[in-house]
């Protein structure tokens, strides 16, 4: 079963995790054979939001979809047997520490 781990950082607190922490975690995910995909996202200041209204008119605005304290900083998609295993991987993610949050979402299967 595939789960997406959405890694949110807080704009209020600085995540103390180092690049080495992230590299170590990434290596673990790869070596466990559960990695499907995953990326770290560029800084929030580079975000652009697009909407298309009923008449097909496009609106482009600077910044993220919603102004919140929690900022999506990256994601993994992992393939594991069940939610408990997914939660274990989420808990090990450096992004879950220091005021950060990892949201675990099953990927819909059709």
């Amino acid at each position: 079963m595939k789960y997406m781990l959405l890694i949110y950082g807080s704009t209020d607190t600085q995540n103390a995790c180092t690049v080495e922490d992230w590299m170590a975690y990434d290596k673990e995910v790869q070596e466990a054979g559960i990695f499907v995909t995953g990326h770290s996202l560029a800084d929030l200041t580079t975000a652009t939001t697009v909407r298309v209204d009923d008449s097909g008119e496009r609106t482009v605005t600077d910044g993220p979809f919603a102004e919140t304290r929690e900022v999506l900083g990256g994601y993994y998609v992992i393939d594991v047997p069940d939610l408990d295993v997914a939660l274990d991987w989420a808990a090990r993610c450096p992004g879950a520490r220091d005021g950060g949050t990892v949201e675990v979402r099953p990927v819909a299967e059709f």
Binding site: M1, P81, D82, L83, D84, L87, P106
Partner: protein, 420 residues
Amino acid sequence: MDERAAGTRASVEAVFREERGRLLATLVHRFGDLDLAEDVASEAVEAALVHWPVEGVPARPGAWLLTTARRKAVDRLRRDQAYAARLALLAAEAERTGGAVPEEADGGLPDERLRLFFTCAHPALPAADRGALTLRYLAGLTTQEVARAYLVPNATMAQRLVRAKKKIREARIPFRVPEPHELPGRLPGVLQAVYSIFTEGYAASSGPLLQRLDLAEEAVRLGRILHRLLPAEREVTGLLALMLLVHARRDARTGPDGELVLLDAQDRGRWDRDMIAEGEALAVAALTGGPPGPYGVQAAIAALHDEAADAASTDWPQVVALYDVLLALNPSPVVALNRAVAVAMRDGPAAGLALLDELAGEPRLRAYHPWVAARAELLHRLGRDAEAADAYRRALELAGTEPERSHLRRRLAAVAPPER
């Protein structure tokens, strides 16, 4: 349905109240699907109602039900393409076991209920639904009965259960017993689910009745099952001990008209001594062999009350000492409130009131009527009746059940007799 058939049905249903939880847990383990397990368990019981009165009750009723339910499940899976993969797994399993129904030492079905306890109380489910799921799937109550337990409309409860089941299925919350290293994180949730059923039965949060003993008894029954499944877990023992030591007072807790009788005014001759003895033995076991847990400590406090001949001769210094331990384990304003009341008994009402007033800033206590009522009581004992009356009026606004409100009205009348 004629009268005889109705009688058979009632007795078969009574017999399988206990077996049903096991049957359901076994089917869930096998098929990994609560809905399917529920449906085929019901169908198997229906089949039993048809066959047993004619053919006689089989030697191993549990195995008969499981075999029947399994056959029905396989039929259903065959009809449903979406389940093809699961069916293949099942075939592989049947090959391994030869299709035989395993038998436990006690002659019953293998007990898979522990898995189901952990699934129903999974931290990924809303805390408010965990007790309901546990009542539905482990105590075997119907959805209507669970709705009544939580005093919500049937449709509301049905919707909550459907939503919870959907999450279990779609997020794939597993049916498994956590590894020993995970237990400290997961067991408290299971204990909390069972205890929440007990406290709802013991002190209903609203409604005409103070106690709903059937619900408290259901919780005790679940506590016993859990204790049988995890005999070495001292907090499980502690929870069962606590429930028994409190439940032993059930008959003395309400007066002839259903009114609330507080601990200090209860007729202790009506306490259930056998249940107290059982609870005490379990409390000792819960507190032996390691640092105490919150349920073990609460059981010890309940045991001190149960042992005392009356409120005055209760070992209040020891009660306060145990609340200190509990407060360190579980720093909650409600525990601090109970400690303050015990201090009032040990050192007098002024000391207790000072502690209660220290808690005035706690947001969780502001609308919590026991805190307001405890203040009123101590103010009254200090002769500050005008303030006591104000506090009783405030508590009356907050109390949820009619027996609690009538108790508060009587207290209010005692400190502030109505003017003529």
